[in-house]
Symmetry: none
Subunit: 377 residues, 2 copies
Amino acid sequence: MSAVRLSADLSPSQQKADWLDTILKGDCVAALNKLPEKSVDVIFADPPYNLQLNGDLHRPDQSKVDAVDDHWDQFDSFAAYDAFTRAWLLAARRVLKPNGTIWVIGSYHNIFRVGASMQDLGYWILNDIVWRKTNPMPNFRGRRFQNAHETMIWASRDANSKSYTFNYDSLKAANDDVQMRSDWLFPICTGSERLKDDNGDKLHPTQKPEALLARIMLASTKPGDVVLDPFFGSGTTGAVAKRLGRHFVGIEREQEYIDAARARIDAVKPLESTTLTVLSGKRAEPRVAFVSLIDSGMIKPGATLYDAKKRWAATVRADGTLAIGEQAGSIHRIGAAVQGLDACNGWTFWHYERNGGLTQIDELRRIARLGMERAGA
Amino acid sequence: MSAVRLSADLSPSQQKADWLDTILKGDCVAALNKLPEKSVDVIFADPPYNLQLNGDLHRPDQSKVDAVDDHWDQFDSFAAYDAFTRAWLLAARRVLKPNGTIWVIGSYHNIFRVGASMQDLGYWILNDIVWRKTNPMPNFRGRRFQNAHETMIWASRDANSKSYTFNYDSLKAANDDVQMRSDWLFPICTGSERLKDDNGDKLHPTQKPEALLARIMLASTKPGDVVLDPFFGSGTTGAVAKRLGRHFVGIEREQEYIDAARARIDAVKPLESTTLTVLSGKRAEPRVAFVSLIDSGMIKPGATLYDAKKRWAATVRADGTLAIGEQAGSIHRIGAAVQGLDACNGWTFWHYERNGGLTQIDELRRIARLGMERAGA
DNA sequence: ATTCGCTATGAATCTTAGG
DNA sequence: TCCTAAGATTCATAGCGAA
């Protein structure tokens, strides 16, 4: 790849880096080291699993199981695999933005070593996610449980990175209004989605389903973000990124995979931007100062506020504080104090009298926000 | 404990070792080192998870979460935790029979380190098993996925131990005649099963459900086998072993837990025969996330949904939310909003166009459930 | 006896803007 | 970088008391 860098005075929207939406050919660590530091929002990595297979496996009908015995999955020892793992995790960490996150998928053959290395290098695990397969391969010998899942580790760059992207509200709304759990159910990649080579055989032994990558990106990226995949393979990450209006960068060694992935991604039609809007919750709403309700005349100084059951009454003061007897403070502090709690959301706790009933002052905040939007605040 | 050993010429059925069906008090490694080598069939270990908590956590209702902040879960560093882990895994391996197996349970905080150490010490992983919780604690701050599972590693003593116990056929028969998968569904331990202290509070912070231990023993032991638990705690392993006609050995440091476990186990009545309740782990009506219809391609992002009379039309967004103009949210929230109601069942309210007519999206949910049932949801 | 509503709680690495 | 204050945030289940 070339050594072109983003100019410091140009935002990505003004000048697109030449490595965006491309597949870099070569060794994963070498390619990573050529990318600018802190330049990608999310990394999805599907590294070699270090499967340790001896001999062939046959199904009960004597057909042979097409094992993952590619040369790139051969390591001499756990130590060799660990060294490989640490090298790419370290190179990836340099490229990740401070508030970026990384996803790594693996099986019991490798995921424990990968997870320990991630912790050792300073990544901070946010969740481990279980991909439950609806249609896993059976255990043919009947000597173990059916291996029906794979594990993903989702981690931030550092323990103190708090501002990573997590589209909580959108995930919850899409999940019947309950928060998304750490166990996900998806079919393995089969049928027309599975890329085939010239012989009609599967092109890549471990092609991941697009639905899995879509869930990952919808959870942890925003439209326009950059998703890096250092083990690009058949290009699922790129295809899903393009469809969902995200940028991708792929790294891959094998020309056969690069060609197939390129063609695959070129055929993807991006979704319309309007369908890509991410549902945002209250956190994204602009802040409203309680005093601004007084400024705008929605609440008069001297007005009385009550809790929902009218157990307490407090007086609004001209400076935007609330008072009960000697005690005065913010709507939150006074709400907490009367309940004997450490914290309280005054917006939902306090009410005002209207039409003989009580209405939350949060209703006034909502109205104030509409005014702010009109004013382009 | 005493230094009594099994005579070499007597089988366990002829002379019962004095440490069988007892709880050894003391440090885990020291106690393990006093047991005879190659003397137990299965080890179940629930070691400290090394949670790293900062400050208190409160529920949205301001109640405080009772965190696991016990002294036995405090380690200075990953290195200290690794040293602890290697020490007990090594001592446990000496005690394990050549064809014995070990189960270790953990969360993302520790399981990757534990798994890597197990591989380093020569244990051979047979499966990783996911315990999916029906009723996990929510994520209260909405900053991560709900942590809804724990991970267990099942391993043999060596890579070449082939004669370990695995009751394949009975598991399959108990599971509707399909192989038992690597993801299991159980509730957490609550209600009358949960041991309480004199104040009525939970006796032990991490008591495991008996159903989980029963599945483990039914899978990997035979009646009369010896099950060792080096972190005995409230004694679930002992209680289930006695009930299922297995022997146990527990190791525990805290006298309070020993006393409670002893009383608990004494109260257990062994089953006459091992015709046990089948824990199929299937639930009545698995929940379907609306977004899973998008994942599976049944609904496309950008598609339009209508109410039965086509009075309203809404657009499906890629993140699984529904949008009408500026308003967006779950199928339920948007259904409620357009009708001016507080609540709405989006599954029955919204329809899609098919064959020129309208069909409820609930029809798609029914189809999705068929796939989930196959996966044992 | 049954239902309904309210409360309690579980292995938790659980915020963020602004001064 | 540190400190303060605003204010956002929960699902399933068991138990209990009232109706």
